[in-house]
Symmetry: C2
Subunit: 338 residues, 2 copies
């Protein structure tokens, strides 16, 4: 804990989140879903997806770009497809309301998809992925964002940071989970550099003229770059398509247009796919889940890391010790109570 952070117990921070959301008129169901999601970011020591996001949430609400209380509407679209209309509210409640049906459909059909529509998005996908692996399912999730990222070979922002997340259930262990932006870096990380005044590394972004930049503000006004060159750019395009037009929702460019410069959080859809190993494998399920364990061992035994291990370690630590919140951030959050 450094001088400008404040150690808080989880229950204390949880209560503060709920107070802020309640003060701004969120329904109890949304307060619960949003607080759970923000706290999951915080306890996993992922500051860019923790309570810091309260600032953007309330800002978006105050800009008239989000509903604090819309009830999600579930539509049984096809035997293996579910659509959940979030009604312009934040995504977590729509996800948790749709999840039981997604699990049912995956259990029955072997593979199933859930589209969340018309949601305002701020949350990390790994939280949702872990809810899917907890049900013994394999999960994939992705969504567009605002048009911040240029395609490979271009300089004009078109894609969102377009995260892609995957999870695999592991018997008796934390699941195998990754959740990465198809941009070179998460936008939240550039925003944290802007707040701290630190330069960003080369390769993250170009300025408005298309030149490489290490200035966080110029990057935010220019275009971010994808990871992995044309391959990352192809993945970002895929996510625009399958979590945009395929599910009857906005691309990142359309989300940006909808915002009309209000500075709100992205407004779009999300696609989640769940696969049931038991439906693929029947009586051989345990045997093949065990063979997957050999893969993880082979990664770890050569000194490489599994993704998310740092998050899982942080989760154990913060459960005991609480979390350190920058004092300026805490001041900003408490100001939302006024």
């Amino acid at each position: 804990m450094s001088a400008d952070t404040i150690r808080m117990q989880l229950s204390e921070l949880d209560t503060l989140c709920r107070q802020v959301l309640s003060r701004h008129g969120f329904s109890l169901a949304h307060i619960d879903a949003i607080t759970t999601t923000l706290m999951r970011g915080q306890v996993d020591d992922c500051a860019s997806h923790g309570v810091y996001r309260l600032l953007g949430l309330i800002g978006t609400l105050q800009a008239g770009k989000a509903s604090p209380d819309a009830e999600p509407v579930i539509k049984d679209q096809a035997p293996a497809v579910l659509r959940v209309d979030a009604g312009g509210a934040f995504a977590p409640l729509a996800f948790s309301r749709g999840l039981p049906r997604l699990i049912e459909k995956a259990n029955h059909c072997g593979i199933a998809a859930m589209a969340i529509n018309h949601c305002v998005h701020f949350s990390a996908l790994w939280v949702e992925i872990e809810a899917i692996t907890s049900a013994g399912l394999v999960g994939l999730a992705c969504n567009p964002a605002h048009a911040w990222v240029a395609p490979a070979g271009g300089t004009v922002p078109l894609f969102g940071t377009n995260p892609f997340a995957f999870g695999w259930p592991r018997p008796g262990a934390h699941p195998y989970v990754f959740d990465f932006a198809t941009s070179a870096i998460a936008r939240g990380d550039i925003e944290l550099h802007r707040r701290s005044g630190e330069p960003i590394p080369q390769g993250w972004a170009v300025d408005a003229a298309g030149n490489p930049t290490t200035d966080a503000i110029e990057a935010l006004n220019g275009a971010m770059l994808t990871f992995g060159g044309h391959k990352g750019s192809a993945l970002a395009t895929m996510i625009e398509l399958i979590a945009g037009p395929l599910i009857g929702d906005l691309t990142s460019a359309e989300s940006m247009d909808w915002d009309q410069g209000a500075g709100g959080l992205p407004y779009h859809g999300e696609l989640i796919i769940a696969l049931d190993p038991e439906r693929f494998l029947g009586s051989e399920t345990a045997q093949y889940l065990q063979r997957a364990e050999k893969l993880f061992e082979s990664i770890v035994n050569q000194g490489a890391r599994l993704p998310s291990q740092r998050r899982f370690e942080a989760r154990h630590r913060t459960a005991r010790e609480g979390v350190d919140i920058p004092s300026q951030l805490l001041t900003d959050i408490r100001a939302l109570l006024n």
Copy 2:
């Protein structure tokens, strides 16, 4: 056409393929499926997935690691899942036999998966993806290979080149298709460098001691690297899992063990997922497919390229002009007739 290539008409090369396969005892159904796949690589000017692969196919057969005539067995695994047992034969026939059922299931359920099991693999996924987009569906496909690629942070080969392919149907245009190795480069490209004696670029591979190398032979004996650092490595892991244990088949390391040094082509499974836009979107399908076109326009209009455009251009050209085959390769292929 350079001095050491020979211009051939497509029908001529097609006939040669069929003769070679027939000479080695392939059934008519396999001859047809394999020839179609090899010719698709050749006409798209992707030499590493064209008739060059005949050498590996016949070598694998002669090593006793592939069946020339096994009939695929289709199993209706779940309402949205199909498994096709290739019975140790090459993959293309299993794919084409399973495809109509995959389309039916996707049309009915909205999303469906096809697992191909126990197949020997040599083919490019885009050929399969285009068969899916031709049916108006969105497609994803991936498979492991042999353990050639080290995970990020490691030096021991564990993953295959693990291609990931995606396709989106475009009304009145070639589909949007990408098909990339999650390794920094396709293994076939390193093999072509070995044949030509050219050095490979930095970043493709390390030697057996884990040091960076530009020598194709040292690379083939060492470990290839993934694209995009830990993100590419995470994708490669996902592909091992969902196209390995999830479908009751081998990982790349298990495929390599199965080969026992015979130098055969990889033996494993493949996962294909198809999504039906009409089942997601109903009466709004045409409208949203049109909105996807805006995304493609925005990419092209800023000077960036859509993936696969070079292949589509080559396809038009080679249909008129035929293809140029290295004369040494043609000699090697014709030697297979003896």
